[in-house]
Point group: C2
Chain length 285, copies 2
């Protein structure tokens, strides 16, 4: 397994792989791998010849008040896990190479970022779209793999790729969960034992909502009222948002019809967790 | 010579050319070719195996008050001229393919667009950067060729390419001028006979400024005062801006040192013309 730090070196390697006719798959990550990341890599492994994983905690997607500095990092552990899953190359650049002095270009995806996390974290998607555009130009993938846990991020990246005519297939992979239903996240390490219990309120709320949907309920407000009451009853849980949105436009819907997603962001103590469920898809919680 | 209208068809063709090991050169244009465009193509011809020219009047870079509708177009004439210069493929898409319903992604280059045309035409560079990013992803060039007449545009595109790690060499080509010094522009066709005389005030002002520079003057304000007085003395000439800027940051400078550019935008009647000169470079007017 190769480890590449320099964007230019990564680009030269990627171009030579493409010229050899190989198919490149990229899994962009912020590292500190859990089973969710490894599943993205396993899915990616099946879809190309050269499996690249980027490990980069992107400062452009964190607000000054957020956890950029404390975000968990463990490169040695990540390296071993990636190698076990059959990764060919880890690309892990420095901030000074990704955002050198004088840096000033950003990709803005407008409509789909105007709700949910786009409200709570105003510069977040601009940072995500920008770093993904950069990673796509550096690693030159044919396919890029993202988790569905970050649903709005996946929609944003798909929208960017389509709008900017990037010749890349975007693959969304189902959320990996702990056995009790908690969506895997690098931020779960922040949780105390008590908070870990309250964190289950997200996936259980998805279950409750889905049960009502399967019994025929289509009124978003009624489902959301129950979801909010359920989550709020948990100690140290504070809802950032609980919304039902059109899965393509990310606009709130009143009635669930077509593709609709229930999206949750909940503060559990000082840790903000997200989870979501696309109505009509299987839900293993 | 191939003519391709569909972005996807262009992309497939470009990818197959790259896989054959060919070097693609792109000259992005809005069509209505003059000798300046043809010189970009001639320079491009030397730098690769497959010479692509895009012809696309990009609505995203025009304000509602500007000349998008009336911008001169003549595809048949352009086609013949391109063929004579040895172009391999013309890419000329429709608006509905470039900006389909639901389009919402834009590339913003911040610092270098904060002066000059970025003030007069607030959405212009966002439109230019966005369409160039799209064209780069569609045509997949190794080299893209731009005229130095649009100096701030060239700086903006170079900045975008560097910041977003696009693996493309950007080549700037010297301004092509009429025998009397007028910088070639598709918009020159708008000029009446009298205005054509006043239009010479731009290139002549560059000459005057360069003469003072060569005699040792380095005070930007003194040079600009003379430039402004000279241009304003011409009938139907109204200065939009006349500034001396750092050639990389596009910030105004007081003293000419390092790379500095004199940039002019002047309304001649209802036609806005631009021209510029990089101090220290040869000036053939």
């Amino acid at each position: 397994m190769k480890i590449i730090r320099s964007p230019r070196e990564m680009q030269v390697f990627a171009e030579s792989e493409r010229l050899r006719g190989l198919r490149i798959v990229l899994v962009p990550t912020m590292g500190y791998f859990h089973e969710g990341h490894l599943n993205l890599m396993r899915e990616g492994r099946k879809r190309g010849d050269c499996l690249a994983v980027s490990i980069y905690v992107n400062p452009a997607q964190f607000a000054p008040t957020e956890d950029f500095e404390s975000y968990p990092r463990d490169f040695e552990r990540d390296r071993k896990l990636a190698e076990e899953v059959g990764v060919d190359v880890i690309f892990s650049p420095d901030n000074s190479e990704m955002y050198p002095e004088g840096y000033q270009t950003y990709v803005e995806v407008e409509g789909v970022t105007g709700n949910l996390c786009g409200i709570s974290r105003p510069r977040f998607f601009r940072g995500v779209a920008t770093v993904c555009a950069k990673l796509f130009h550096i690693v030159k993938p044919h396919v890029a793999v993202f988790g569905k846990k970050d649903f709005q991020q996946l929609v944003t990246i798909k929208r960017m790729v389509r709008d900017l005519n990037m010749d890349i297939e975007i693959l969304g992979v189902s959320t990996t969960r702990e056995s009790d239903g908690l969506a895997m996240s690098s931020r779960n390490v922040y949780l105390t034992a008590e908070e870990r219990g309250s964190a289950l309120s997200l996936s259980r709320a998805l279950r409750i909502a889905n049960d009502r949907y399967e019994k025929g309920e289509r009124d978003a407000a009624l489902i959301l009222q129950q979801v909010r009451e359920f989550i709020s009853a948990h100690p140290s849980a504070r809802i950032d948002y609980a919304k039902i949105c059109d899965a393509e436009t990310i606009k709130d819907v009143r009635k669930i019809e077509g593709e609709a997603v229930l999206a949750l962001a909940v503060w559990i103590g000082k840790t903000r967790l997200i989870d979501n469920h696309l109505f009509g898809e299987p839900l293993d919680v």
